[in-house]
Every structure is written in structure tokens, then in C-alpha cells.
């Protein structure tokens, strides 16, 4: 991981616990010492991820791939004209063996180990089932390029286009010539690249957006003390003045999925038993936590991989009935996954991690943060949808194509915290954050909207550690 460019906490002047060790009488001037919370203008930008009431699943996914190709082809074509001026751009059906051409299409990676629905019908269970693993790459994966007319298999002589580092569903341009055997030999590749990033006004003072994910309140291993410490910190009830001042600068909290998790007891229980009321305890716990948070600061809650929302992307907001206590607050917003919004001109885009987790299964040698950077390079939030990541069959549009480059991009529910500042063309800079799962690491990430630096805060409640 190396050294991350993290923001260090501001050193406090004076003794450490002066305010906490003072006489109770001094608390009478608490009103004078009240610290107002900073506010920031919030604009939702994720309207494309909201599905209407009429959701027809009859459509096939070919329409989604076509929309994706058309949307990104224009962008890629501009890249091709800039980088390879003399090379003609042709469709796959017109590729000949005589000259070097450029072709734009969607990538398909042919993987032997990829689980297929047809395996269920195989007479003998193959070694695929025995592996049951999470890595499906093998050394003889091959690449195929597809456009709206035809497909062609490719043999890459270019280091940037290797099967291990790409996934199915990416739109790209390749340059090369067709071999007599039928393969297309690739000598150069171009991706869509980062989209344009809007200018953001620099705030005068520090303002933070807090990111957390994976609270997993339905999991029996969830530590409520740890969650309560998190809530107390954000509401300003933890620590002395320096911590309270830091908490007062947090303008928005994003709970990026995984707040409830799998309700195991409910799944196993008899639907008619009275046990149900106790099995629903985690849902009430989640509502209590959300009510405390919503009363203190604006909260955006996203659904995650095991949450009670639809399984296919884009996940729709969690239902209001799960939050009888928190829903009346206007500061409590139930949002989609993926989620995009703007805070005072700073554009944030995030997912609960399903896209990165899925890409990690089908690539080798790339860290989670690299995959997040690749999503930006390929200009698509989840290229593996709908191939291996379940997704709604859109017809006229692909809402996962990035239209604008965000300033902060996050993937949540990751195994560990990681961050990087990605510099793009035209002065674009994006803060990439992998938000770790709270139940595993107890980490809350604060991103400074002024400097785009991260400050991870870890909460621990066990005193038995060495």
C-alpha cells in the first residue's frame, strides 16, 4: 500500500483533556460554547439510477450493450482521431487483411473457468464446481471484440491489452490488422478515458464528508459499542472540544451499503412463529441508529449487497417502512446504489462495492483501487454488468456510462481502506476511496472537501488487545 497521503488530525493546544476534567459548574456556559455544524449545498445527481414504477424485465440485454456501445463510441472515436490520425476506423465486417485499421467495439473475455448456467445440466460435475473459488482467471483466457454487426477474436501484441487486466463489457478501440487465420492482431489500444470534470469552487474552510459502510447490524458479530461510538462521534457527543470541532465540520454522512446485511435468523425461521418479532430486532436497531444520526446531520443511506433491496443494479432506495423513526427527518435521504450527488460544487459518485468486487473476480494482478481507477479510464461504472453482475435490462440508455468525471469516487464494503489521487488530462483530479467494511475494520473515512484528502478514523471498543 505504501504511504497514503492522509490528512493528520490538527494538533490541539493545551492539555489533552482540559475540558473533560473541569468542574461541572463550568458547563453552565455550554450554550456560549456551542459549536454550529457547517452546512453545504446538496444537489442530487443520480436521477438516471431511479427506476420508474413500470419495470419490464422482458427485454434482452442486447439493447443495453447497444446503448453502451453507441454512447461510448463517440468518445472513443475522438480519442482515435487524436492519437492515430491516419488510421481509418472501420466496422468489424469491413476489416480486411491488407491494411492496418482501427476498430471500435465492446470487449468480451472468453473464460474457461467462468461459472455458466449450463453447468447445472452437465452430466458430470466438472472441476469448476470443485474449485468454487472467487478467482476465475486462467492462462488461456481469450479476448473477442464485438460491435453491432459481428465479432472477431483478437490476439494482443500490446502490453496494455492483456486478458488478465480487462473485463467483459469495456468499450475500446484497437488498431491492428487481420491475420490470414482470422484473428485480429492488436498493436495498439485506446480507452474512452476520463470524461470531462466540471470546475469546482474551492470552499473557504474545511468541510468533510463522512463515508462509512458495512455496519452489518443483522450480523451476530456486530459490535454495538463500536457503532455507538461512531454515532456519538458524528453527533458531537464524543471526546473533547477538538473532536467536537472536527465533527462539526462534517457536512454529510454517506452510509454506503451493508447497514443491515443478511437477516439470517429471519431467513431460517418459521414464518408463523412468534420468534419473528425478535428476529426483526436488527431492523429496529438500524432505525434507532439512523434516527440518532439523522437528528444531527444529513445522512444518505444506500442499499448494499445483502440489504433488503432489489438484487440487481441499480439498487433502488431502501423502503421507508424500514425507518419509521428516521424517515420523517428531511435530513435523512434514502438513495440508490450507485449514488451521485454534488456538495457545494464537488461531485461525488459511489457504489456499495458490487462492481469492484465483481471485477476483482475476473481480473488478476489488480488491486481494488486500481480497478476503481480503471472504471474511470474505461468511462463506465460497472462494465461487467449484465454479464456477471446482475442488472436491470435498460433499453434506450445505459445510465452507468460516466457523463462527468466526479471529484470523489468511492467503492464501499471493501476489505481494507485505500485511497489515491488520480490525475487526469485537462487538470482533472479525482480522489479515489475504497471505504472498508465497518464490521471488520471499524473505520470511518472523512474526506476533506477543500483539499480532497482523506482522514480515516478507527473506532475500537475492546480493551483486551495487547
Amino acid at each position: 500500500m505504501g504511504t497514503l497521503d492522509l490528512e493528520r488530525p490538527t494538533p490541539s493546544t493545551g492539555q489533552k483533556y482540559d475540558e473533560l476534567l473541569s468542574m461541572p459548574g463550568d458547563m453552565m456556559c455550554a450554550e456560549a460554547a456551542a459549536i454550529p455544524r457547517a452546512t453545504c449545498e446538496y444537489t442530487p445527481r443520480g436521477q438516471g439510477f431511479l427506476l420508474g414504477k413500470q419495470r419490464s424485465f422482458d427485454r434482452q440485454y442486447a439493447q443495453l450493450y447497444f446503448s453502451r456501445l453507441l454512447k461510448l463510441r463517440q468518445v472513443v472515436q475522438q480519442q482515435v482521431q487524436a492519437a492515430w490520425p491516419g488510421t481509418p476506423v472501420v466496422k468489424i465486417l469491413s476489416v480486411g487483411e491488407d491494411q492496418e485499421v482501427a476498430v471500435i467495439g465492446t470487449l468480451y473475455k472468453d473464460m474457461k473457468l467462468k461459472p455458466s448456467i449450463l453447468d447445472e445440466y452437465a452430466k458430470q460435475p466438472g472441476f469448476k464446481q470443485a474449485l468454487g473459488g472467487t478467482g476465475f482467471c486462467s492462462d488461456d483466457d481469450s479476448l473477442v471484440l464485438e460491435d453491432e454487426g459481428a465479432r472477431m477474436s483478437m490476439r494482443s501484441e500490446c502490453a496494455e491489452l492483456q486478458p488478465d487486466s480487462v473485463v467483459t463489457g469495456v468499450v475500446l478501440a484497437v488498431r491492428g490488422r487481420a491475420e490470414p487465420g482470422g484473428d485480429f492482431v492488436v498493436s495498439g489500444v485506446l480507452w474512452a478515458g476520463l470524461p470531462e470534470q466540471p470546475q469546482r469552487p474551492l470552499p473557504q474552510e474545511d468541510a468533510y464528508v463522512a463515508l462509512v459502510s458495512g455496519l452489518q447490524l443483522a450480523n451476530s458479530k456486530a459490535d454495538m459499542m463500536q457503532v455507538q461510538l461512531l454515532v456519538d462521534f458524528l453527533t458531537g457527543n464524543l471526546g473533547a472540544a477538538p473532536q467536537q470541532q472536527l465533527a462539526a465540520k462534517v457536512v454529510q454522512l454517506v452510509i454506503a451499503g451493508g447497514s443491515l446485511g443478511q437477516l439470517e435468523a429471519l431467513a431460517a425461521a418459521n414464518p408463523y412463529s412468534r420468534q419473528q418479532t425478535t428476529d426483526m430486532e436488527p431492523v429496529r436497531d438500524m432505525d434507532l441508529v439512523m434516527t440518532e444520526l439523522a437528528a444531527a446531520l444529513p445522512v444518505d443511506i444506500m442499499p448494499g449487497p445483502d440489504d433488503p433491496a432489489n438484487a440487481s443494479l441499480p439498487q433502488q432506495p431502501l423502503h421507508q417502512c424500514l425507518f419509521p423513526g428516521a424517515a420523517p427527518y428531511s435530513s435523512f435521504r434514502r438513495v440508490t446504489n450507485p449514488h451521485a450527488f454534488e456538495l457545494g460544487g464537488c461531485l461525488l459518485l459511489g457504489t456499495s462495492g458490487q462492481n469492484i468486487d465483481d471485477m476483482a473476480k475476473y481480473t488478476r494482478g489488480r488491486s481494488r483501487l486500481d480497478l476503481l481507477a480503471c472504471c474511470l479510464q474505461w468511462c463506465h461504472l460497472c462494465p461487467t454488468a449484465p454479464d456477471t453482475l446482475t442488472c436491470f435490462p435498460f433499453g434506450a440508455d445505459d445510465p452507468f456510462v460516466l457523463q462527468q468525471c466526479p471529484h470523489i469516487m468511492l467503492a464501499a464494503n471493501q476489505p481494507e481502506f485505500d485511497t489515491r489521487l488520480l490525475e487526469g488530462p485537462g487538470g482533472a483530479s479525482v480522489r479515489l476511496v475504497c471505504v472498508p467494511s465497518f464490521i471488520k475494520t471499524g473505520t470511518l473515512v472523512l474526506v476533506n472537501l477543500r483539499t480532497l484528502q482523506c482522514q480515516p478514523l478507527t473506532f475500537q471498543s475492546n480493551y483486551t488487545s495487547s
Binding site: 419490464s56 427485454r59 442486447a62 446503448s67
Partner: protein, 111 residues
């Protein structure tokens, strides 16, 4: 006073209007006025009108994308949105008097 039931507030069944209908359901409700243009009869029937022939050519044109799962008008609008310049004649037919019957694609009811 009659006791209020929970079923008064919560509908058990989706209303008929909110169920999205595919072309198949539509055919069962009313007979199409252009006979044999879709479904089983389309395979053997040569009497398809000139308009239907033109629209079938639009369906099979690969540059506008796949045609299954969308109405022809939706596909035309998508093609226009992506700057592919689809023929105006197709749109005029689809928004004209017989537009409703011509709106389902060639493979509707067959695939």
C-alpha cells in the same frame, strides 16, 4: 360502523393498468386489423402491406441496434437520440393512424 380492514389500504393485487403488457397480451385482447403481419401467420403470409415491409426493413437494419424487446417507435427515438439519422418515413408511419398496430417488431410473438 363497519370495521376497517387492512386490505382496504393495502391492495393485494396489482391493478390491471399497472401490469406492463407485452405484445403477446395485446394480441389476445383485440384482433389486429392487419391480418397475418405478426405471429404464426407471418411466416407463410405474403400479403403484408408495403408499410409493414418498410418497417421490417427498419427492424432488420443492424445499425440501429437489436429490435426485440422494444417497440419500433422506442427504437426509432433511440436511434435519433444517438445521432444515427433514422428515416423520417418510419416515424410518420408509426405515429400515424395505424401506428398502434405497426408498433410491435417483426419478432414479436415469434421469439
Amino acid at each position: 360502523m363497519q370495521q376497517a380492514r387492512i386490505t382496504d389500504n393495502f391492495r393485494q393485487q396489482k391493478s390491471f393498468d399497472s401490469i406492463s403488457r407485452t405484445g403477446r397480451d395485446k394480441k389476445q385482447q383485440k384482433a389486429p386489423e392487419l391480418p397475418g403481419a405478426h405471429g404464426e401467420a407471418a411466416v407463410t403470409n405474403y400479403d403484408i402491406s408495403a408499410e409493414e415491409r418498410l418497417l421490417r426493413a427498419f427492424d432488420l437494419a443492424t445499425q440501429y441496434g437489436p429490435c426485440t424487446g422494444m417497440t419500433r417507435l422506442e427504437r426509432w427515438q433511440r436511434a435519433e437520440q444517438f445521432g444515427l439519422n433514422p428515416p423520417m418515413q418510419v416515424k410518420e408511419l408509426l405515429t400515424g393512424l395505424q401506428g398502434e398496430q405497426l408498433n410491435q417488431c417483426l419478432w414479436d410473438g415469434r421469439v
